[in-house]
Amino acid sequence: MLEHVRDDELMDAAEGTASAGVRRHVQACAACRERVAEAATGWDLARAADVPEPPPLFWDAFRRQVGRRVGSERRLRPAVWAPALAAAAAAAIAIGMLAPRPGTVQPVSTLPAWSASLTGGDDTGLAQLAALDVAEPDAVATAGCRRLAECLSGLSDEETMALAEVLRDELQAGGDL
């Protein structure tokens, strides 16, 4: 009795890569030969089907849309700035600990306005933060920058605003230490 070959071997036969044994079987077996022929016809039919081409302006619009989504992703992506945020928050706690005891601590409402720039000479909160620099060296390293100031300078406006919120909260909490 003729023993049929496996379907993956018949696929090899349809592709012309079958072993000599499989080829001999297919030549001798009408049922397998028929199935291989059907697969070959199915391949031809499938290959003939195109996908409708989108309108000409579609690809530019598509790329722009992906770019926009990637841009907003970059602004919000926590992986990039969360470690910097954590480092800064830790530094903020340290500021709180180093600051004068309650009673002499400046009220939160009088903190200098936060800005994206780390060079503002009148920004004492930032100056303190930059001076501490590597309060959390591991977190800073995780953020992919050598110094805390370098981490902070890479933040977008939105990230800076989020950081300012965290710092404000931590300083408030630090005042009660």
Partner: protein, 205 residues
């Protein structure tokens, strides 16, 4: 009979497009450069990758979802996922193969979450130019084949899309689908037989 005469005539046809070029030599050099630039935060580098592969990804999604709107939305999602995960791409395979894996998973998730709507780009506008009639017939044949492919069981459909339309090797398809090479070949064999039965000997029958 002297030899088998029904082997696939297009099997060895040279694959074209950026994806095919990438597979011939693993990770393409221009992809490698773009990926390194992406990791340094160069957004334009990712834009170049999108431009290079958007057609391949869109077409794969279209084959899966069978309509323009869903294919466009899903293809965008594929690139967004790729951007998020680009740090984890080790370059062991062609970038296109990695993108296809993301695309297949995204399409599967999309299909699982939504009933197919079957909406396609308008194709039936009467065109008086020479050859317009044959183009309409060709479009109709293509539509019938796409519908037949979309009705294949999930694994057979994935195998046909990746192997027949994107010219991947059996090994690459197996890697993307998490199957053995033997399973991929068997699935493809069943799928092609099913298409033949569904469509007749000609898609226009």
């Amino acid at each position: 009979m002297s030899d088998l005469t029904w082997t696939l005539p297009v099997r060895l046809a040279a694959a074209s497009g950026p994806a095919a070029a990438g597979r011939a030599a693993g990770l393409r050099e221009d992809d490698r450069e773009a990926l390194e630039a992406c990791r340094r935060g160069d957004r334009e580098a990712f834009d170049r990758l999108v431009e290079r592969y958007q057609r391949d990804v869109y077409r794969l999604c279209y084959r899966y979802l069978n309509n323009h709107e869903d294919a466009s939305d899903t293809a965008q999602e594929v690139f967004l996922k790729a951007y998020r995960a680009i740090g984890s791409f080790r370059g062991d395979s062609a970038f296109s193969t990695w993108l296809y894996r993301i695309a297949v998973n995204t399409c599967l998730n999309f299909r699982a979450g939504r009933k197919p709507v079957g909406q396609e780009l308008p194709e039936a506008i009467v065109d008086p130019r020479p050859g317009a009639q044959s183009r309409v017939e060709s479009d109709e044949r293509s539509r019938r084949v796409r519908e037949a492919v979309s009705r294949l069981p999930e694994k057979q459909r994935a195998t046909v899309i990746l192997k027949v339309y994107h010219d991947l090797t059996h090994e690459e398809v197996a890697g993307i689908l998490g199957a053995t090479v033997g399973t991929v070949k068997a699935n493809l064999f069943h799928a092609l037989g099913n298409l033949r039965k569904t469509l007749g000997s000609k898609a226009g029958e």
